[in-house]
Symmetry: C2
Subunit: 164 residues, 2 copies
């Protein structure tokens, strides 16, 4: 097989793993119908299924769970060079988590609009985020900026700081 065929084959294999995880969740009905895996080369570093309801944790999306599991495997907060496979296009929380984790590439199956039709708010949150905060549905207030800036100053001037 050529490089492209090999990559396509690998993508299909790992996507089928993510979808199998999602299917198990869909059949149980206990959590959201989403699954994800994080892979480096041919090595599966972490897997995740949606656990929002069971763990009572709104951040326990499949992709976040897979990213956290992969970080535990590598003992690092960086997943540089890794691919995230998800049964559905990541929501803004999971996509931003992938950026923070330095994920290199994301492969997904169904889209945010497919998720919206199943009753998940991803698309609505995608529309809110780019708006300036006075125009969002969420209420915002800014206070004490000077005190907040002082915190950043203390950090910047701390020779022991560990940037990430």
């Amino acid at each position: 097989m050529g490089t492209n065929n090999l990559l396509m084959h690998r993508d299909t294999c790992f996507m089928d793993k993510a979808i199998a995880l999602a299917n198990a969740s869909s059949r149980s009905g206990r959590n959201g119908p989403f699954g994800a895996v994080v892979v480096k080369g041919d090595r599966l570093l972490g897997e995740g299924v949606n656990h929002v309801v069971q763990r009572r944790d709104p951040t326990a999306h499949a992709e976040v769970m897979a990213i956290r599991a992969a970080c535990r495997t590598l003992r690092s907060h960086s997943l540089d060079g890794c691919t995230l496979y998800s049964s559905c296009e990541p929501c803004p929380m999971c996509l931003a988590a992938a950026y923070w984790a330095r994920i290199e590439r994301i492969v997904f199956a169904c889209t945010r609009r497919d998720a919206a039709e199943a009753g998940f708010d991803d698309d609505a949150i995608y529309r809110e985020l780019p708006l300036p905060w006075p125009r969002r549905q969420m209420k915002f207030r800014q206070i004490r900026r000077r005190a907040g800036l002082k915190t950043l100053e203390i950090w910047k001037n701390n020779p022991a700081k560990r940037p990430y």
Copy 2:
């Protein structure tokens, strides 16, 4: 005091708590210089500081930690009616987490641009998210949509499902 004065006083008190958490983190230098608390009425439900480096978890931002702590306190994945106080405007991951958690209101001190000047990528991720995926810096591929849709179908038709 009038209602507005009372609210302003409460906002200042809880913001000072979030900033105190951030300051402790800035002084130790072990993690990012951010702190957050989740409050319902006058009750502090959860607090969080950035723990990315120490926990080797790129999702362990102050706001995510505070949201998860508050959910544990309430034994619920919903923080309906709660306010999130953060020493800095939330990054897209934390903001989306607040939407998923049904947070009602966000009070913040310094801004995403202040964070960018201290070396944190929030603003860059805010610019990436609204772009269609072929135009982002992150690489994307979509495959197996039909199999992904089947997962959502199984869930939609499952009478035992627990929507959130």
